[in-house]
């Protein structure tokens, strides 16, 4: 017996009981007060479940354990990492613009790749690609 089957059986048992009570299929002729309580039961159970969920969420929000020092420390670390990254990017740009002997082939390769991509994009955009092939530093 899988869990799904168990749940389905339980739910259908409850639904059948509710149907019997609400539509009086067994002819029990319960007092009107009890029938008035029985017929909104599905909606009532749904609403109780909703209220319980809302209250649980609200309670857990109110009693959540904030860590103030850890948050501040994290912010400081983020700032530090940003500045570090900024410095590294600047160094990298400097080295790309003024390549030393060891970076010259790499810079050439990058320029060639960018030129090929530009040619492809210009061809797809339908413009003339010839001037890109001769003057690779201008956009089409």
């Amino acid at each position: 017996m899988t869990k799904l089957l168990e749940w389905l059986l339980g739910v259908s048992a409850v639904v059948v009981a509710w149907g019997l009570l609400t539509f009086d299929l067994l002819g029990l002729r319960l007092p009107q007060a009890y029938r008035d309580v029985a017929w909104p039961m599905p909606m009532y159970l749904l609403l109780v479940f909703g209220c319980y969920s809302l209250a649980t969420v609200g309670y857990r929000v109110a009693t959540f354990n904030d860590c103030e020092e850890a948050a501040k420390e994290l912010q400081a670390q983020i700032q530090e990492a940003k500045q570090d990254l900024q410095k590294r990017v600047e160094i990298l740009i400097q080295r790309l613009i003024n390549p030393g002997v060891e970076l010259w082939p790499l810079a050439q390769l990058l320029k060639e790749m960018i030129r090929q991509r530009l040619i492809k994009v210009c061809r797809m955009a339908g413009t003339q690609a010839s001037h890109v092939e001769h003057e690779p530093t201008r956009l089409c």
């Binding site: 009107q32 007060a33 009890y34 008035d36 309580v37 017929w39 909104p40 039961m41 909606m43 009532y44 749904l46 609403l47 109780v48 209220c51 319980y52 809302l54 209250a55 969420v57 609200g58 309670y59 857990r60 929000v61 109110a62 009693t63 959540f64 354990n65 904030d66 797809m124």
Partner: protein, 83 residues
Amino acid sequence: MATGADQAVGMGLVGFSLMLFTYYTVWVIILPFVDSDHVIHNYFLPREYSVILPGVAALVLILCVGTFIGVVTWKNRKPKKMD
């Protein structure tokens, strides 16, 4: 412990759900056993509304959630890449 606004919102939610639960319980379970000429019946709508109102509210909620999902999905659609 959570501070300030968090506590206020959390406790507000708890209070609201408690009030809603109490009102609805009185309406559905207690009122049928109270004499029909008692003054408390003036504070509650007819019984049909105890099913219609939450039903409508649930529909509106589902509509809002569906609209939100639709809007977010629409905003994040990307045109096909050209390669």
